[in-house]
């Protein structure tokens, strides 16, 4: 762009006339109540307003944000843990014997139940598998298995997406230009 100095310019009659025209130009007033409308908008968009209160929800439940309650719950948990640990240390042999007996009995019962189930259903399951294979063929079964294997992670991702936390809202930032 060509810069043209305006410092040393001599006003002509036309310039003076233009200045006269420009000097007649008034300033305009906005409608009455302009200042009040602006202040109302400033109040609506200022700090503490509903517009700016769109912070992401806190991860800690509201109940636990009360310090007295949080300290109380923590103290109770720590106290009961200490009492339990002390009692277990004092009665270690009796506890160990009880745990062993209970574990063995539960384990044996579960093992016997599993064996019984296998004996009952193995014949039926074998027959059903043989009939299915004869009907659909080995290749179809392989394809079905592959489909299931592929579908499982996809379903897992879908579940994760379905139960993900709500999207956090962002504050709009208005830069002054």
């Amino acid at each position: 762009m060509t810069e043209q100095p305006a410092n040393d310019f001599q006003p002509t009659e036309a310039d003076q006339l233009l200045d006269l025209y420009l000097a007649t130009l008034p300033r305009f007033d906005p409608r009455p109540g302009f200042a009040d409308r602006v202040m109302a908008r400033v109040a609506a968009t200022g700090p503490g307003s509903a517009l700016t209160d769109v912070r992401p929800r806190p991860a800690v439940p509201t109940l636990l944000r009360k310090p007295a309650l949080a300290w109380g719950l923590t103290g109770s948990a720590a106290g009961s843990s200490a009492v339990l640990t002390a009692w277990t240390a004092a009665n270690l042999d009796a506890v160990w014997a009880t745990v062993t007996a209970v574990t063995l009995s539960i384990g044996l019962a579960a093992w016997h139940a599993l064996l019984a189930l296998g004996a009952t259903w193995s014949a039926w399951a074998g027959s059903a598998a043989a009939v299915f294979l004869a009907a659909v063929g080995l290749q179809s079964l392989t394809s079905l298995a592959a489909g299931v294997v592929i579908a499982m992670p996809v379903s897992a991702i879908g579940l994760l997406l379905a139960f993900r936390p709500a999207t956090q809202s962002r504050k709009a930032i208005h830069a002054v230009r």
Partner: protein, 200 residues
């Protein structure tokens, strides 16, 4: 001595300082001082009273909400005019309105809209004849300004209506000083060309 009296006699910087401290009357004082110049600048840029008021409101909301980012080493008037001019220029760019007429905005599709967008020129003359002449001259010069490019229009308004120095205009419009002088020189030349027939 009341606070209101002190504010009305305070400098812009002092009023801004008070506004930053949260004084609502300081906000009102800034509005009182600048609502006419800011509205006039925007009105002459966009040539639509309703739109100009919206943009002027937007300007003040931005200014009052961002007082903390104002740097006191610059004139407050330059800062507020800069924000106002940016609002008007942004709107013009969006709508691509380069020229408008005094008879109403070009997109005015019905008589009500034409009337709403006509520029209103107030007269300060006393006799009816002088009033008519003033309105005629005012209309012609307003129309001529409306035909200028937005950059030239801003320069002419700030220089000849708001009485700002070249340096302030350069600061306000983020332009080199030489460019401001060139713009004003060319804008004046265009205005004289447009107004030429009236002088004869």
């Amino acid at each position: 001595m009341t606070q209101a009296w002190r504010l009305s006699n305070a400098t812009d910087q002092e009023v801004v300082h008070a506004a930053r401290a949260g004084r609502e009357d300081a906000h009102h004082e800034l509005l009182r001082r600048y609502q006419r110049p800011v509205f006039s600048l925007i009105y002459r840029m966009v040539r639509d009273r309703e739109l100009a008021e919206d943009l002027a409101q937007e300007t003040f909301v931005k200014v009052l909400g961002a007082l903390d980012s104002y740097r006191p080493e610059f004139k407050f008037s330059s800062w507020i005019f800069k924000i106002a001019n940016n609002a008007a220029i942004d709107h013009l760019r969006k709508r691509q309105l380069d020229t408008l007429s005094l008879e109403g905005a070009p997109d005015a599709s019905n008589p009500d809209r034409v009337e709403a967008t006509q520029i209103q020129v107030a007269s300060r003359r006393e006799t009816p004849l002088e009033e008519v002449e003033a309105r005629e001259l005012g209309s012609a010069i307003e129309q001529a300004i409306g035909e200028l490019r937005p950059e030239y229009r801003s320069c002419i308004i700030l220089r000849h209506i708001e009485g700002r120095s070249y340096e302030e205009i350069a600061q306000t419009l983020d332009l080199p000083l030489g460019t401001v002088k060139t713009y004003i020189h060319r804008a004046r030349a265009e205005l004289m060309e447009i107004l030429g027939p009236l002088r004869e």
